[in-house]
């Protein structure tokens, strides 16, 4: 099928922006026309005002900081342990034997079901949230690192070995760079999961953050606050995903995908 919009790039960009603007306009008109009550759908301008007020009072910075801290700390744990474990599974027989059934069972399990267990073990505060985020995000990282390491070209490894590289240099200078594109893909899957789980934890356990503040606003039937919170979370998610894409481009500058 024909790829649309190949003709005029500028027009395409305008059209893309336009549909988001159109969505906002439709939202504003629908809310002002009172098609549904203002409680169920506060207008875009009221929500925007609320966001500005949140930002000015410092509430936004506080919640956003807490949420990002939990999500990124959990993600960092998952990334560092997951990559190490994935590489070890691929290269060490006994590790593979032990973790293969655990990973294949753990991957499709809904890890969020363990939330009460983590609350029981690690309490209501940051530790349980961060650890549950890490537990949820680690499986895609392990699988990506494992498949990536398995897929490293054997010629590269043989030539490095025959040139006299030791195991450590082999790992850092051959295996890791060659596996990096696929590992980054796994991390790009894990990052949104981290944010999803952070939000659920904050909603279910309390403890402030963006998820906690939305839940609080809902209990007080403060619907502009709920909508403002959702938009703030959406923006945070978009920024995180973009940052990860930028990191990928930076780390993989040398790779052929950057030239494509």
């Amino acid at each position: 099928m024909k790829a649309p919009g190949t003709g005029n790039a500028v027009l395409a960009v305008l059209a893309r922006g336009a549909s988001i603007v159109a969505l906002l306009v439709v939202w504003e008109i629908a809310a002002r026309a009172q098609i549904v009550s203002a409680f169920l759908l506060p207008s875009a301008s009221i929500v925007a005002e609320r966001m500005v007020a949140d930002a000015a009072s410092g509430d936004l910075a506080g919640s956003l900081g807490l949420t990002l801290y939990r999500a990124i700390a959990g993600f960092a744990l998952a990334a560092s342990i997951g990559v190490a474990l994935g590489i070890m599974i691929a290269r060490i027989g006994i590790v593979r034997w032990f973790f293969d059934p655990l990973v294949s069972i753990g991957m499709p399990m809904p890890k969020i079901a363990f939330l009460p267990v983590f609350m029981l073990w690690f309490g209501l505060f940051d530790a349980s949230k961060i650890l549950l985020v890490a537990f949820s995000a680690i499986f895609p990282v392990i699988i990506a690192a494992w498949a990536a390491t398995d897929g490293v070209d054997q010629f590269l490894i043989w030539s490095a070995r025959s040139a006299g590289a030791g195991e450590r240099r082999l790992l850092w200078e051959i295996v890791l760079p060659a596996a990096l594109p696929q590992i980054m893909t796994g991390l790009q899957v894990a990052l949104p999961i981290s944010l999803i789980v952070t939000i659920v934890c904050e909603m279910a356990m309390g403890g402030e953050g963006l998820g906690g503040s939305i839940m609080k606003d809902m209990r007080f039937a403060d619907s502009p606050g709920v909508f403002a919170g959702i938009v703030e979370i959406a923006l945070a998610g978009a920024v995180l995903v973009k940052a990860m894409e930028a990191l990928r481009r930076r780390l993989l500058v040398w790779h052929q995908e950057a030239r494509g």
């Binding site: 059209a15 159109a22 294949s104 939330l115 699988i143 054997q154 696929q182 796994g186 995180l240």
Partner: protein
Amino acid sequence: MIQILRTRTPPPRPSPLKGKGEEGASGLNPPPPEHLSKGRGSAGWGVYRRALATLFRYAPLLILALAWEAAPRLGLVSPAALPPLSAVLRAWTSLLLDGDLAVNGASSLVNLVGGLGAGVLVGTAIGILMAWYAPVEIVVNPLIRCLYPMPKTALIPVLILWFGIGAGSKIAAIFIGCLLPVTISAYNGARGVEETLVWSALSAGASRARVLWDIVLPACLPEILAGTRTALGLSFILLVSSEFLIGHTGLGYLISFLGEGGVYDAMFAGVLTVAAFGFLADRLYLAAMRRLLAWRQ
């Protein structure tokens, strides 16, 4: 999200030689070793060896189960924090006999099937329309890009405001969560349909609707099914999270209720049940997907 499905089967490696990494990088479902798949000697011997190989493969799970049983019994951890596996299994049996599992499980299943089914149908329709009609693509694609990175669990409070605390808000949460992965995969699949197929069908006099149904839909089925698998995983996350937060039925509710009541052996039984459901659903889905795609080989 879509990418991980591809990462499980690494691209064919340029090396013409068979290397160490050759034996199924997926690792999840490695083919049985050569000497096991070929029936050597009597059939009984082969079955015996296969059973032994299975036992060896799943031994780590057995070790974990034994450690779980032993740790609280030996006093390494408090039985309050980790009830022994046998106590959890006893609690599971009584949950099953009391009908708690059946009632809450049925409620969860209805929400899951409703939300996921609607998400897959609508997502497929939107994705194919986007690939087929340029104006739809121009309007919808930016919205998808803008909404895709948003954690859908954040919508649960609004859905409670809109649909109350019954099944409606849970089904809506699952529907919204499943919609975008399926839409994106259907769009990618439909864009990749071979143009010659479409042209020849059109020139043979088929209507555009017929081409969509008979050519485009089957051709992008693999992508749609892969996207649906992602959606299945997400639907469990949304199901359990919404049941933690909303209402008085469902397995997620059962778990949090038991946890708040301090009945930890039953709580662990509930957690294991949900985890097992998620795992089984994925495996059943994979098996069904293989059957549906058998015509491609």
